[in-house]
Subunit: 211 residues, 6 copies
Amino acid sequence: MINPNSNEAVTEGLRQAVAPLAFAEGPEIICETLRDGPFGIETQEHADSVTIPLRRRVEAADDVDAFIIACYSDPGLHVAREGTASPVFGIAECGVLTALTRADRFGVIAIKSRSIPRHIRYLRQMGLMDRLAGERPLEMSVAESASGEGTLDRMIAVGTELKERDGAGAIVMGCAGMARHRRPLEQALGIPVIDPTQAAVAMAIGTLVVR
Amino acid sequence: MINPNSNEAVTEGLRQAVAPLAFAEGPEIICETLRDGPFGIETQEHADSVTIPLRRRVEAADDVDAFIIACYSDPGLHVAREGTASPVFGIAECGVLTALTRADRFGVIAIKSRSIPRHIRYLRQMGLMDRLAGERPLEMSVAESASGEGTLDRMIAVGTELKERDGAGAIVMGCAGMARHRRPLEQALGIPVIDPTQAAVAMAIGTLVVR
Amino acid sequence: MINPNSNEAVTEGLRQAVAPLAFAEGPEIICETLRDGPFGIETQEHADSVTIPLRRRVEAADDVDAFIIACYSDPGLHVAREGTASPVFGIAECGVLTALTRADRFGVIAIKSRSIPRHIRYLRQMGLMDRLAGERPLEMSVAESASGEGTLDRMIAVGTELKERDGAGAIVMGCAGMARHRRPLEQALGIPVIDPTQAAVAMAIGTLVVR
Amino acid sequence: MINPNSNEAVTEGLRQAVAPLAFAEGPEIICETLRDGPFGIETQEHADSVTIPLRRRVEAADDVDAFIIACYSDPGLHVAREGTASPVFGIAECGVLTALTRADRFGVIAIKSRSIPRHIRYLRQMGLMDRLAGERPLEMSVAESASGEGTLDRMIAVGTELKERDGAGAIVMGCAGMARHRRPLEQALGIPVIDPTQAAVAMAIGTLVVR
Amino acid sequence: MINPNSNEAVTEGLRQAVAPLAFAEGPEIICETLRDGPFGIETQEHADSVTIPLRRRVEAADDVDAFIIACYSDPGLHVAREGTASPVFGIAECGVLTALTRADRFGVIAIKSRSIPRHIRYLRQMGLMDRLAGERPLEMSVAESASGEGTLDRMIAVGTELKERDGAGAIVMGCAGMARHRRPLEQALGIPVIDPTQAAVAMAIGTLVVR
Amino acid sequence: MINPNSNEAVTEGLRQAVAPLAFAEGPEIICETLRDGPFGIETQEHADSVTIPLRRRVEAADDVDAFIIACYSDPGLHVAREGTASPVFGIAECGVLTALTRADRFGVIAIKSRSIPRHIRYLRQMGLMDRLAGERPLEMSVAESASGEGTLDRMIAVGTELKERDGAGAIVMGCAGMARHRRPLEQALGIPVIDPTQAAVAMAIGTLVVR
């Protein structure tokens, strides 16, 4: 699992998020930071700046059975897939697909509103728009959302709008760094909440273990 | 994981298929046979006959954290979901969603051609038709496909048509009893092959472990 | 025309609703109650509980030229079709299709909000979502909506929202027991209102008479 | 029911096609010929040349409760609707919608291949493309198809391709003048065949009788 | 470029709107008024009344390399195309397609609300609904919108709603006579604004010059 | 107009292709080669390797009113748009949108089959799949297709399949270096052929001139 931004705190959060899925007999899960990445991925430029570094990282790995790109924009997903025979998963893709198993229509909590057109464009590319209830922003920085005290309250407020006004039956947390809010958010909203990093690891395990 | 048909051999095949995902620290995976089910689910009548028994089974379980309905028609999926606070997964849904992580468009190998309109209708219900390359039948009985010697050869022939003529980049095996053919089929075709029962168990583990 | 719930009052309402279509030279229209049905169909469990009884009823009929399932969830439609060479119509399907002849986008008045995801899923299965303006609930029980005095007022309020806020150019009454409200609702809203039971009988007559 | 071409033989065929639906207690069905129409409607120019004459005819009628435009291009449908408070039905629209009650995907038999892009454009306008199996031409003139001896044989050949190669589960005869071939075609193909003029009259009766 | 209404002031506005695209070495741009047209095209009847006159005009031209129909309903587009080997452009089609190059989802400013269902139907025919953010009306007459003083203010108000509430990233001015408001509207809204007549001339030049 | 590959011969071909659109009073058209680009863009890696260099080039330009990225994969389109207030056009987007003005459904001639899934994914992202007739490959290298003698013959063969078998009414040449084949291909096929570089320049002129 590669965190394409260079913020080690996010990578540490990933480790904790996916630790419950690191079974003794299962695949080893290694979370690493992309050295060349920006500190956070908030723009298209940030996203596009990591595609080739991710490709290089994937090509250089000779003992990795599956890769996960841990950024909700799934940067470099297709170029990474082209560069390896191993499966490559994107957390946005896996998060959304997992949400489809929990409700007829899902909502997405974005960090910032400027990411939403990029996410919508990606959902349309995946052919999944018919199942989207809506996407709404926290309007926080990635840093704030990961560490700030008011984050959960804001997520509950936004999640409630997605549920009540947009008709979402499940929520995808649209960021790699929100896993610790999953359970309290689920309890507050009363509908399933998907952490996309956990969703991606589970799908990767399914692919690896039964080889 | 409930096999909605009453064929114990199929249930035993499920046990073997998902055994690699039964981690010591992970959730226990119990495969059971629906006593009231028909011997195989080949028609709409078969599928509809098990919906209420599946609901009853789900309601009666007080120590189950997630359910998987192990039939590629996902019979009773919505009525089971209505009857429990635990997540309920259908193998068709999970198989197809997992295929979307491996290729732009996927193909489905059906047992019989008469199931295809039912599957297409269900794919349209899921809003996923834009990603379907095609579905083609083996034209075998479930029993034949599970045990017959020529099954793998026939699967390779049908899978090749899905790949070459329909443009499928990944294949979903459209039946609960085909898991042992997954690996040789994947090697013969050179594209990912998804066993839907394994896909469903992986997604269920992701949901359960991180609760 | 089979009322899949066991409420004889609903069946009697059906008889009155479709009586104008019972022409002397036309097909005889028989409205009957499904003995095994629940008192009302308000949940997925209710809907799934009648599918096999409907199949049995259809199979047992040897002098029926067409069947109509008179519940807005169209329960058992496909399993009934599988069991007979005669055409089988669902009132939801016929109601929606008839609405498409009257306006570019239609709205649906549901009895309860919890039915809406089920209806939306069914509309997506039919491939007709592009024409849906919206669906809004009365939030009444079937019994209330059929007999209560305030029903028409509530229907006018909900229908007005569908017209004004959602842009509906025609309204489908999403229940088998609302026929007597059709004309006054149409007059109040100023746009066509479709009773799905009448729509289904008309389409069935077209199929039968020209055989 | 207005035949927008000036071929009286076609109008006479309409009379015979819909005669079984002219119930004594039901609405009177009057089939008339549009005097200003071309002899057949085979081009976009033919279709557009009748829109305003159809509007005028509809406006001039003061004792007509519903109108049917009996040409498979539904020329003037929207301008006619704008000109009257009575419902206006198009046979293409009603034929296709009725086919949706009989099969998951339908096929259309066109007279000539040059009409097919026009029909496809219209199906896309109706939002119904997801249910189209395919459309194939007879490559006959309207006159030939209405009277020629080999018409039925050609229809069976084309219908068989729609069924076998395109996966059509029902067939719409894409012309106003094919009603007499409906039953033999249905028997030859073994799947439902829809005459769009009869479908439209049935839907109109449903609308009128229950006013 | 044919103005299908008989209002010479609109034609004069077209001349001014497209004058910057009349390059000395480029194709000559002739704006003319359709003599038989209504004074404005505000209804389906207006639109359908000009289709055959437009066809006649196109057929009569022997020295025209491309035609543009300058009305946002694109009346007669297909019948004109059928009547000439030269390309025929509609301003609505070109305006919307050009908007797709400037934003993920676009909004349309209509003159009157009653045109909106006609425009939506046309967008669905073009298969472009997935990119529509919304369409909202000025509720002015064509004459008012072309000349009235308050037009720009009203356009800014409506454009702001399309941007803020519907999420439009670009605006199409849904009328042939609004070109002079383009630049101030763009400045006020801060997102691209498309004049459909200019968009159509540019696309026509591309087609002609490189022949 | 930036050729994102470093093949100067392709850039020279662009100059010739768009020269007829370089009007004396119009915008100056400068075709330049991206120094950092690969020799040809045939893979996802090639495409992703130029996104950030394109962004840098766009940011560095202080006297450019509009940008065109001249590669049929539209690499870096969104990151370039994020980096400038000037409009940025992609030739694939403009080529396809222009094709929509010439036919109901279009076909694409690709250089190699391995590009087709990338193009399809992009078409789905644009929401334009409903208008695609098909895409078929020449199976040549970019170099061969630009210079080889047999290129036109192969294009005619592939274009004929798109027209006859897939129903394409217009053809988009899916490469930046095919402009000189446009006219003979159009004459051979009898349907419009779009050169995407010319289409993009025309749309850019429309945007610039009327500022």
